[in-house]
């Protein structure tokens, strides 16, 4: 496969990542003003005190989605939702909020990949120290890999999102190049069985 085709696939996938994670944050925080920003650093930098992460894998693709955050940012970003907590939100509630955010973003990514024919599964989300990022290394392998970091900004606060993607099969690249998601709510979010 040509390098230019691989790059085109990764560039489109980055677009999908930004769209999906921004929409997930808007829905999860019940806010409309979420901006996406670019970051020039590597995905293996430590961007926050805490990190929520989830693994989506299967069908020739493995990715770890990470959301780096600081507690005081999430108290503001999640204010519409964390107001349900009694008094000032405690660490456990902030971490639960971010764990659920990872769950939503991972679920949306998985649904996009599954809809495009890449059968992927998802782990349970996990929250750990931001410093643990240095242990999440993209593995050396014969296949292509991508690391990418972007920002989600709202209410003057920032979440740094990162992803490490490993592609095991070349057939995945044309799928990633054509992958698309909608930023709008879908009727398929509810089905009577």
């Amino acid at each position: 496969m040509e390098d230019s085709q691989i790059q085109a696939a990764f560039e489109n996938f980055k677009n999908v990542l930004r769209t999906v994670t921004a929409k997930s944050l808007k829905d999860h925080s019940q806010m409309t003003d979420v901006e996406v920003g670019e970051v020039s650093g590597r995905s293996t930098c430590v961007y926050g005190h805490s990190m929520a992460l989830i693994l989506v894998a299967g069908g020739g693709i493995r990715l770890t989605f990470k959301a780096h955050y600081n507690r005081f940012d999430i108290e503001k970003i999640g204010a519409n939702v964390l107001k349900y907590a009694k008094g000032k939100p405690i660490d456990r509630q902030v971490n639960d909020y971010m764990r659920e955010y990872c769950n939503l973003s991972g679920g949306a990514l998985k649904a996009a990949l599954t809809g495009a024919g890449v059968g992927a599964g998802m782990s349970l989300p996990l929250v750990t120290r931001g410093f643990d990022e240095v242990f999440v290394l993209a593995e050396d392998s014969m296949v292509k890999q991508m690391s990418y970091v972007w920002q989600l900004r709202s209410q003057g606060c920032t979440i740094h999102c990162g992803v490490d993607v490993v592609i095991d099969r070349e057939e995945v690249f044309p799928i990633l190049e054509k992958l698309s998601v909608s930023a709008e709510e879908k009727d398929s979010d509810l089905e009577f069985l």
Binding site: V81, N103, G107, T114, D189, F192, L193
Partner: protein
């Protein structure tokens, strides 16, 4: 007013569901995974509805539905799955185990209450 079991490993989601349901005078029982959810179901024979996540530690949502099915209740109350999962295979499995509605997270209180109305809860 109905007694509703809410099963999700996220306390935030359970709190959001509790708020939405108590707002319209329903009574809520919470469980943080399928194993505790099954125990809560056994302890509350007057439940009118179960709202359940899929991906949970220890016993997941499908695991809990399997336990409910194996208990062979005379009348199992309606079940709504509230999850990030959308695979058709899972929905089919859920339908076979008594799931009546499949909602993708995040939910809004309006949408949730509309589903309850449709299920006549």
């Amino acid at each position: 007013m109905a007694k509703i079991l809410v099963v999700d490993d996220s306390q935030l989601v359970r709190t959001q569901l509790r708020k939405a349901l108590e707002e319209v005078k329903h009574q809520v029982v919470e469980a943080e995974n399928g194993k505790i959810g099954f125990e809560a179901w056994k302890a509350n024979p007057d439940l009118k509805l179960i709202i359940c996540d899929v991906n949970m530690p220890e016993v997941d949502g499908i695991g809990m539905l399997t336990l409910l099915s194996e208990a062979k209740p005379a009348n199992l109350c309606p079940i709504i799955m509230l999850t990030t999962e959308s695979k058709n295979e899972l929905k089919e499995k859920g339908r076979a185990l008594g799931v009546r509605a499949w909602m993708i997270k995040p939910f809004t209180p309006d949408k949730l209450l509309a589903v309850l109305e449709k299920l006549k809860i």
